[in-house]
C-alpha cells in the first residue's frame, strides 16, 4: 500500500517553480531518501506534504485520502521533524514533548507514557527535567525528533535531522530512524549526507530543480553509472602531474587532483589504465597505490546533476 502519493505536484514562488510537476509514491514500511543539493526543492515538497504550504498544482494523498480534503486526518498521521530546531527553550524537554503530543489529542496517562517513551527513544530519558537551552546541538536535534514522534504517526518526515551535530548523536539518530521504521512508521528522510542516505534508506529519490531525476534502491541507482569507473591513484606528490595530458587519454571523462591523490573518472569499457599510469610515470609522480572505486551514490549524483551534493 502507498502511504504517500504525490501527483504532478508544483509549487511556484512567483514565476519560480521550486517544485516542478513532481510525481512520486512512498510505500508502507519504506525509509525513503530524498537527496538533493541546496535549493533543490526538498523542504518545499515536505512542507506541502505536512500542510505547511499550499500547492500551486497537483495532488497529495496520504493513506489513500487527499490531504487538502482531509487536513485533520492527514495532520494527525504525520510527524514532522523540521529542518530548523523547533522547540521552546523555556520549557523542559519533557514539557516540550508533552505539549506537542497534546496537540495531537493525547491525554492523561497515555500522554505521559508516550512522552516518556519518545524521550527515552531519542536517548534523553535522563534529561526530561532539563531545559534545552543547556543542551548540545545534538541533544537539541534529538529533542526535535522526540517532539515529532510521541503521537506515533504513520508517516514521519525528517528534514535534515542531522545537520551540524557530533558523530555520536548522528549515529544515535540514524539508529533511532531504523528503529522507528521497524516499529511500523514509514519514513521520509532528507539529507545532504550521502553516507547517511546510503546507510539507512531503502529507496532513494534524487531531486534537482524541483524534479525527481532518478528514483530507486541504491543498487538500481548505482547501476545507472556502471558505464563509468573511478580510479584513484596515490602518489608522493601530485604537483608534477599534467592534468591536461591525462584528460587527453581516450575514455577519460574527468580528472581531479588532491595533494597525494589523482582521481580519474573514465568510461568503463575503455581499457586505458596502462596509459594513465604511463603518463604519471612520465610526469615523475612516484606512484604508491592504484585502486578502482566501487561506484557510489556521490558519483551517481555527480553524473546525473553535474554537481556535487555539497558545495
Amino acid at each position: 500500500m502507498n502511504v504517500l502519493e504525490i501527483r504532478n505536484l508544483t509549487k511556484k514562488f512567483g514565476d519560480f517553480a521550486a517544485v516542478d510537476n513532481m510525481t512520486l509514491s512512498v510505500r508502507e514500511g519504506e525509509i525513503f531518501g530524498f537527496l538533493g543539493a541546496n535549493g533543490a526543492g526538498k523542504s518545499t515538497t515536505i512542507n506541502m506534504i505536512a500542510s505547511l504550504l499550499r500547492s500551486t498544482k497537483g495532488e497529495i494523498d496520504l493513506l489513500g485520502r487527499s490531504i487538502s480534503a482531509n487536513a485533520r486526518f492527514a495532520k494527525s498521521n504525520i510527524g514532522i521533524v523540521p529542518q530548523d530546531i523547533a522547540i521552546y527553550e523555556d520549557m523542559t524537554a519533557y514539557e516540550n514533548v508533552r505539549f506537542f503530543a497534546g496537540l495531537y489529542g493525547l491525554r492523561g496517562e497515555t500522554l505521559k507514557e508516550r512522552t516518556a517513551e519518545a524521550l527515552e527513544f531519542v536517548g534523553l530519558g535522563d534529561k526530561h527535567k532539563s531545559y534545552p537551552k543547556n543542551f548540545s546541538g545534538g541533544m537539541k536535534r534529538r529533542l526535535n525528533i522526540a517532539c515529532a514522534i510521541a503521537h506515533r504517526p504513520k508517516l514521519i518526515i525528517m528534514d535534515e535531522p542531522t545537520v551540524g551535530i557530533d558523530p555520536q548523536s548522528r549515529n544515535y539518530i540514524l539508529n533511532s530512524v531504523k528503529k522507528l521504521n521497524e516499529m511500523g512508521s514509514t519514513i521520509i528522510y532528507t539529507s545532504h549526507y550521502m553516507e547517511e542516505v546510503e546507510e539507512i534508506c531503502t529507496r532513494i529519490a534524487i531531486v534537482d530543480h524541483g524534479k525527481i531525476i532518478a528514483d530507486g534502491t541504491k543498487e538500481q541507482l548505482k547501476s545507472i553509472i556502471t558505464d563509468t569507473k573511478e580510479i584513484w591513484i596515490g602518489v608522493r606528490s601530485a604537483e608534477p602531474v599534467q592534468v591536461e595530458a591525462l584528460k587527453a587519454i581516450p575514455g577519460v571523462l574527468s580528472v581531479r587532483v588532491e595533494e597525494q591523490t589523482v582521481m580519474v573518472s573514465s568510461k568503463a569499457e575503455v581499457g586505458n589504465l596502462n596509459r594513465i599510469i604511463q603518463q604519471l610515470i612520465k610526469d615523475q609522480a612516484e606512484i604508491r597505490s592504484v585502486e578502482e572505486q566501487a561506484p557510489n551514490l556521490e558519483a551517481v549524483f555527480l553524473t546525473l546533476t553535474g554537481r556535487n551534493l555539497r558545495d
Binding site: 530548523d84 523555556d90 520549557m91
Partner: protein
C-alpha cells in the same frame, strides 16, 4: 481542549519567568509611588472619610430618643466617624473651632443642634450632611415622642440603615481620590493597555522559534491557537494587574472603592482588548514595525487618557476624541465605580472593551485565512 492546553502553556512559561514577572509588577508600583507622592499637591481635596471626629453632648431622657441616637452613632462609626461624648463643662464649639473635632452636636428631648467647622472641607460637608438628615428626623421623632409615642418605633425603623445617611446627607456626595488613589488606578489601567506590547510577540515568537511549524503541522486550527494564546496571555497579564491592585491597596492604602468585582471586570476586559490589539497588530504588521506603531499609540493613549494627570471636564469634538481612547473610557468608568459607587458606569467600558477586542480578532482571522500557514 487545545485552547486550554495552549493557554496553560502561556501562563506557565510566563509565571516561570519570575524576573520578568517581578519587573512587570515593580514598574507600575514604582510609578504609582513616584507620581502619587510627587504630585500629591495637585490633589488638594484629598481627605479620607475616616478622618472625621464628632463631639456630642446628650441630655436626652427619653429612652426611645436615646436609642435612636445610639443607632445613629453606630451607623456613623461604620462610616469611619469617631464619636466622642463631651466631658461636663467642656466647650464643644471651641473644640470645633480649634479644629480638634469636625463637628459638635447637642441634643435634648426637644431636638438637636449642631455646629460644624467654618472651614469648608469634604469631611465637614459629609458629617454636617449626615447630621442634617439625622437632625430633621430626630426632631420629628422628638415631636412624636411627645405627641404620639406609639408611632415612634415605626418612624425609627425606616431609618436605621447606615448608608441612608451617607448617600442622602453628603453636601458633596462625591468622594475624591487622593494622588496615590488616582495613580494607583491610572497606572493600573495604563499598564493593562501596555500588555498589548507583549502580545505582539505571541505569534511572532512562534515564528522566531520555528515552533510555528509544529503548530501549523498539528491537527489544531489556527483559530484555536489564537484563542489559546489570547486566553493565556490575558490571564497572565490580569494576574499581574491583580497583584498591582492588591499591593497598592495594602501597601499604599489606595482607594479601590467597595465594588471590587466590577473594578476587576473593567481591568480584565481592558487586558483582553490590549492582548487582542497586540496579537492582531503583531500578526498583520510582523516584526518591529508592529511594536513601533503600538508604542506611538500607547503613548498618545496614556497621555490623553489621563495616565499622568487627570483631565477636567471637556466638551465637543475634544471630548469625543478623548473618549475614543480605551484608557479614557476605562479611567472614567473606574472613577465612577470607585468614587460614586456607580456600578452601572462600568458597563459601557466593559462592553466597548469586549467589542473592540472582538473587532481586532476578526481582523486577525481574516488576515489569517489568506496565509498558507500560521
Amino acid at each position: 481542549m487545545n485552547v486550554l492546553n495552549i493557554a496553560w502553556k502561556e501562563i506557565k512559561t510566563g509565571l516561570r519567568d519570575t524576573k520578568t514577572f517581578l519587573l512587570m509588577l515593580a514598574f507600575p508600583i514604582v510609578l504609582i509611588l513616584i507620581l502619587g507622592t510627587a504630585l500629591s499637591g495637585a490633589f488638594s481635596t484629598s481627605v479620607k472619610v475616616g478622618d472625621m471626629k464628632l463631639l456630642y453632648r446628650s441630655e436626652v431622657t427619653s429612652p426611645q430618643l436615646a436609642e435612636y441616637w445610639n443607632g445613629f452613632l453606630k451607623a456613623a462609626e461604620s462610616q469611619g466617624i469617631r464619636a466622642v461624648a463631651a466631658e461636663a463643662g467642656a466647650d464643644g464649639r471651641k473644640a470645633v473651632r480649634d479644629n480638634r473635632y469636625t463637628a459638635y452636636a447637642e441634643l435634648g428631648d426637644n431636638g438637636i443642634r449642631f455646629y460644624g467647622s467654618s472651614k469648608v472641607s469634604i469631611e465637614t460637608n459629609i458629617l454636617q450632611g449626615m447630621l442634617t438628615v439625622f437632625a430633621d428626623r430626630y426632631n420629628l421623632v422628638a415631636a412624636a415622642v411627645k405627641e404620639n409615642p406609639a408611632a415612634v418605633p415605626g418612624i425609627v425603623a425606616a431609618w436605621t440603615d447606615a448608608g441612608d445617611y451617607v448617600r442622602e446627607a453628603s453636601v458633596d456626595p462625591k468622594r475624591q481620590p487622593g494622588s496615590i488613589d488616582y495613580y494607583a488606578m491610572a497606572m493600573t489601567t495604563m499598564f493593562a493597555l501596555y500588555a498589548a506590547f507583549s502580545a505582539t510577540y505571541l505569534i511572532q515568537g512562534e515564528h522566531a522559534r520555528k515552533t510555528a511549524i509544529r503548530l501549523s503541522a498539528a491537527p489544531v486550527s489556527r483559530a484555536e491557537v489564537f484563542a489559546g494564546k489570547i486566553v493565556g496571555c490575558t490571564f497572565y497579564n490580569f494576574l499581574i494587574l491583580l497583584a498591582v491592585v492588591l499591593f497598592s491597596k495594602l501597601a499604599f492604602d489606595a482607594d479601590w472603592g467597595s465594588r471590587f468585582g466590577i473594578v476587576l471586570a473593567v481591568l480584565a476586559t481592558e487586558v483582553l482588548l490590549a492582548i487582542s490589539l497586540g496579537l492582531a497588530l503583531g500578526y498583520l504588521l510582523k516584526g518591529e514595525g508592529s511594536r513601533s506603531v503600538l508604542m506611538i499609540f500607547l503613548q498618545i493613549a496614556s497621555f490623553a487618557g489621563g495616565a499622568y494627570f487627570p483631565f477636567g471636564e471637556t466638551e465637543g469634538v475634544i471630548h469625543l476624541l478623548l473618549n475614543l481612547n480605551p484608557l479614557m473610557w476605562a479611567n472614567t468608568a473606574l472613577m465612577k465605580v470607585i468614587y460614586e459607587n456607580d456600578a452601572l458606569a462600568a458597563l459601557p467600558a466593559i462592553g466597548l472593551n469586549a467589542a473592540v477586542a472582538a473587532a481586532f480578532l476578526i481582523l486577525a482571522v481574516i488576515a489569517m485565512r489568506k496565509r498558507e500557514a500560521l
